[in-house]
């Protein structure tokens, strides 16, 4: 990476490098919870997705949901990570009103997934970011402080929902890399169907570890952990603030206290939540209600067979087979739905045109209306038809844009729009010749001026022909015939 592109914090003569590690909490896509059979629907009425196990009634026992284990293993494989054949569920003990058991079942020393990596596409090449581990744990419920003026209300719908905590190595160096990392991780999990990655609904949140060190230093600085940030934008803002705060302290000769901080999204600042001394003693120990989780080679290899083509492979295929630029391929593979849409469109239409129309007009439309590609008013089939109509000269590119707009509003197929509105291109040379003759006849002065050397007037004649044909004349024919007649 070239020096000037690095994200550095400058203070006087000093330059600080920012070291970032993420602990991402990704909700496992699963119909039921990690240790109970209650449903996991988002947005349900409070306390309607709660079993006796989730509410920790006396004598209730956790039973592992095998599907969640599969999802974690799948994700591990997608992160090129080692799958641990033996892992252990531990209890993390602490008291809180929305933690019914008084402990969270998590994995501490022996996680289900070990070291792996994620590739980031930076403008000047790829960067490999290390994954430290992935472990499974239960989510807690939700304490609601703002409904009742005197009491805190508790909603246990989320209590016991399976989360994957994915811990990166401290390999990230800038807010932009964090952006790319989260997007790539989300993309991989969506490809795998293991997490929907929906940050608004809290399916993906992260604790952000930030430290800084002078450029060239080898030793890591003291880090601060910013808890539970739920959007990429806020993560970036929090890192920016935190790195600068730490730089200010070091410049003044101070030292960083290892602590847990909160990001205040309204004030755009981080503030101390608890210091290292106040850190909870979670008294982790293996959950005696659960036996160690042992996976067979057969179980893992069956899952391996279910792994679909992932973004990195797909990108390579798009570049090699479809001759896309890496940039174009990146855009098209980053979201699995987009890549599916693209591959559907090009089944029987021109790849180059399809790429341009999807990344251009279609993305603009979706962006404009704030829609996912799965909600696109223009189906892949209709877009493919439209592209073919351009390719075979039925309509011009310009008319195609008009047709596209109508398709966006009426979700009709382009052929019937063209028929209904009579937008078909005029490609009969005799008819065009007649119109060209008319235009020449009607504008003798301009013809004279053109012949005397005012070349620019050629556009005027094209415009006149188009006007008479409501823009439907085949532009190439118009050009050819005009040139012949005027010279």
């Amino acid at each position: 990476m070239s020096k000037n592109k690095e994200y550095l914090i400058k203070r006087g003569n000093s330059e600080y490098e920012v070291i970032i590690g993420l602990e991402v909490h990704a909700q496992v896509l699963s119909k039921s919870k990690l240790f109970s059979d209650s449903p996991t629907n988002f947005g349900a009425e409070p306390n309607t997705q709660v079993s006796l196990v989730d509410a920790a009634f006396p004598g209730m026992l956790p039973v592992i949901n095998e599907f969640c284990i599969k999802q974690a293993v799948k994700t591990g494989i997608g992160l090129n990570a080692a799958i641990n054949k033996k892992s252990i569920f531990d209890r993390k003990n602490y008291f809180y009103a929305d933690l019914p058991q008084g402990y969270q079942i998590s994995q501490y020393k022996d996680p289900i997934v070990g070291e792996g990596s994620i590739l980031l596409d930076l403008p000047d090449g790829e960067k490999k970011v290390g994954i430290e581990r992935l472990h499974l744990e239960q989510d807690a419920g939700k304490s609601i402080h703002d409904i009742d003026p005197l009491n805190t209300l508790v909603d246990l719908n989320r209590s016991g929902v399976a989360l994957m905590e994915i811990v990166s190595k401290p390999d990230l160096r800038s807010p932009e890399e964090v952006n790319l990392y989260i997007k790539k991780l989300r993309s991989i999990m969506r490809y795998l169907g293991t997490c929907d990655g929906n940050m608004q609904e809290g399916s993906l949140r992260a604790d952000v570890n930030v430290s800084i060190r002078k450029t060239g230093d080898k030793k890591l600085g003291t880090r601060c952990e910013i808890k539970n940030v739920n959007s990429i934008k806020f993560m970036q803002m929090a890192i920016e603030y935190e790195a600068n705060r730490q730089a200010d302290i070091l410049e003044e000769g101070g030292s960083i206290d290892q602590e847990t901080r909160l990001f205040d999204t309204k004030k755009n600042e981080t503030r101390s939540m608890r210091s290292k001394e106040d850190a909870h003693d979670y008294r982790y120990f293996p959950d005696p209600d659960l036996l160690p989780l042992e996976l067979t080679e057969d179980f893992i290899s069956k899952i391996k067979k279910e792994i679909p083509e992932l973004p990195d492979e797909k990108k390579k295929r798009f570049v090699d087979k479809f001759k896309l630029t890496p940039y174009e391929a990146n855009i098209l593979v980053s979201d699995i739905e987009t890549s599916k849409y693209f591959e559907n469109v090009i089944k029987d239409s021109d790849i180059k045109l399809a790429t341009n129309w999807i990344t251009g007009e279609l993305f603009a439309l979706l962006n404009d209306r704030n829609l996912e590609i799965s909600e696109s008013p223009i189906s892949s089939k209709n877009l493919s038809t439209l592209i073919n109509l351009i390719k075979d000269g039925t309509i011009s590119g310009k008319i195609a844009k008009t047709v596209f707009e109508i398709m966006a509003n009426e979700s009709k197929d382009p052929k019937s729009i063209i028929d209904e509105k009579g937008l078909k291109q005029q490609s009969d040379p005799k008819e065009i010749e007649k119109i060209v003759d008319d235009v020449i006849k009607e504008n003798p002065k301009n013809v004279e001026l053109f012949k005397s050397g005012k070349d620019k007037l050629f556009g005027f004649f094209v415009g006149q022909v188009m006007k008479k044909t409501d823009g439907k004349a085949n532009p190439k024919l118009v050009n050819d015939i005009l040139k012949k007649k005027l010279n």
Binding site: F57, G59, M60, L61, V63, A97, R283, D289
Partner: protein
């Protein structure tokens, strides 16, 4: 009436099947006796009206093929019972009524049994004398102001006093076998994983196991047939092939090899216990068994290891009793003070002591020295048994180092109270099955028990050996019904 309550469970069942007795007659007999036995304080909650109603229904159109057809039973108040208060002997659950049934009790009702009520126990099963219950001490029918043992003290007392033909308890460190020994009854702790823990208020999850408490060995086999079943709702339940325990009972133990562990000959053990053990050995020889001296070298570490592991798990298991969701809740200005008040007022001293010990041994900086070391010891103790079982089929020891003591004698000395469990805890730490059978009496005429420890999942072997001994011992409690009013 007095005939009915003097029948064993298996003879009661015979009489019901032959229609010599009705479920109502039996149920009424036990209820009548319970009404006159309130001074023993065995019941926390009675469900007599419903029991009579159910007995009536059974007599009208019951299934006589059931294993427990129309038999009334009272159970330890650690088993959650649908729609009937379940307290675990604690103030913190004194108002708690489950909307669900424990797997083990469900098995009883599925075989035709009828619930009489819930029996007193030490708070959260933490105790060896039933003196830690929020609902008061239980007296043993064997003597005035004598403890019935614990934690299944109410169960043992009710069984010995003939207030229930049989019962079930739970055993974490001896809570079935020690009270059985103190009251002259039979108590079986099955192999860990044999009976489901689902719906049993947890004390120490890796040690807790439900089991039968009965008048004789046949009844224990019969009860085990009913309650030992694989359960997918308990991840530690084991799917092994269970025997047909009652039908397969045999008193032929010729050639069985019985180990006598030298480490169980502890300092200061009363002579009467020593001679009880010796008599047991002589009897086994007479029955054709082969006696083999064995060594279980890590025995002396069992009690300390147990009093680390059990409190550690308990400290976490009991965290859910916080006043937020159910059970007793005290006031407070904020969440923390509500927690503190609720748990300070809701738990008794022994429970608090164990929560504090457990919290301490799991805390950072102490975990390795205590919890981890205790787990290593646990493995060594298990290895001792594995090694011994290469040369023997079962092991004979006394059930307890002393006979029953008076109420209040040990309440101010937790360590001497804990010593009661010295012969029983190694079994829980190893997950093995063990049975206590009445084998003699001390100078006060209080019962004394012998313990047989078996190989994992070989309950049948254990039952057969004790069955053959029981026949020869012909132990009788000869209670004087002094408590009846």
């Amino acid at each position: 009436m007095s005939d009915i309550i003097n029948l064993t469970l298996s003879s009661l069942i015979n009489k019901i099947k032959k229609k010599e007795l009705s479920s109502q007659e039996i149920t009424n007999a036990y209820i009548a006796r319970a009404e006159k036995s309130k001074d023993l304080n065995t019941y926390i909650t009675t469900d007599f009206e419903n029991a009579i109603e159910k007995a009536k229904k059974f007599d009208e159109k019951g299934n006589f093929d059931y294993k427990l057809p129309g038999v009334p039973l009272a159970v330890k108040d650690l088993f959650c019972t649908n729609n009937l208060k379940t307290t675990a002997g604690s103030k913190i659950l004194s108002n708690f009524t489950p909307s669900y049934e424990s797997t083990v009790t469900q098995h009883l009702w599925d075989e035709g049994a009828i619930l009489l009520g819930k029996l007193n126990c030490d708070e959260f099963a933490m105790g060896s004398s039933n003196e830690t219950s929020f609902f008061g001490n239980v007296e043993s029918p064997v003597g005035k102001k004598v403890v019935p043992g614990g934690s299944s003290g109410g169960s043992a007392s009710a069984l010995a006093a003939k207030l229930t033909p049989a019962t079930i308890g739970t055993d974490t460190g001896g809570s079935i076998r020690q009270p059985a020994s103190f009251t002259g009854t039979v108590g079986l702790k099955p192999t860990y994983g044999s009976c489901s823990r689902y719906g049993i208020v947890a004390f120490a999850s890796s040690l807790d196991q439900a089991g039968p408490m009965t008048q004789d060995v046949s009844d224990a086999a019969l009860m085990l047939d009913v309650i030992s079943k694989y359960d997918t709702k308990d991840s530690t339940s084991v799917n092994f092939k269970r025997g047909d325990y009652f039908k397969s009972l045999s008193s032929n133990i010729k050639g069985k090899k019985i180990g006598i562990p030298k480490e169980y000959r502890v300092d200061g053990m009363p002579k009467e216990i020593e001679s009880l053990w010796q008599d047991g050995i002589t009897l086994l020889k007479k029955l054709g068994a082969k006696i083999i001296d064995i060594s279980l070298p890590h025995t002396k570490y069992a009690l300390p290891a147990y009093y680390i592991v059990a409190p550690a798990e308990a400290s976490s298991n009991l965290a859910r009793y916080d006043g937020v969701k159910y059970g007793y809740r005290s006031g407070g200005d904020n969440l923390i003070s509500m927690y503190e008040n609720t748990r300070s007022e809701g738990f008794g001293d022994e429970v608090k002591r164990r929560i504090m010990i457990g919290t301490y041994v799991l805390s950072s900086g102490y975990y390795d020295a205590y919890y981890l070391k205790a787990q290593k010891i646990r493995r060594l103790i298990k290895n001792d048994f594995d090694e011994a079982y290469k040369s023997v089929d079962a092991i004979l020891t006394p059930s307890t180092p002393s006979s029953a003591f008076k109420i209040g004698d040990k309440t101010n000395d937790p360590v001497s109270m804990y010593l009661n469990d010295i012969f029983t805890v190694p079994v829980n730490l190893s997950g093995l099955p063990a049975i206590s059978i009445p084998a003699g009496k001390d100078k006060n005429n209080y019962p004394l028990g012998l313990q047989l420890i078996g190989k994992a999942f070989e309950e049948q072997n254990l039952l057969n050996i004790s069955y053959s001994m029981e026949k020869e011992l012909s132990f009788k409690n000869n209670l004087q019904d002094w408590w009846i009013k």
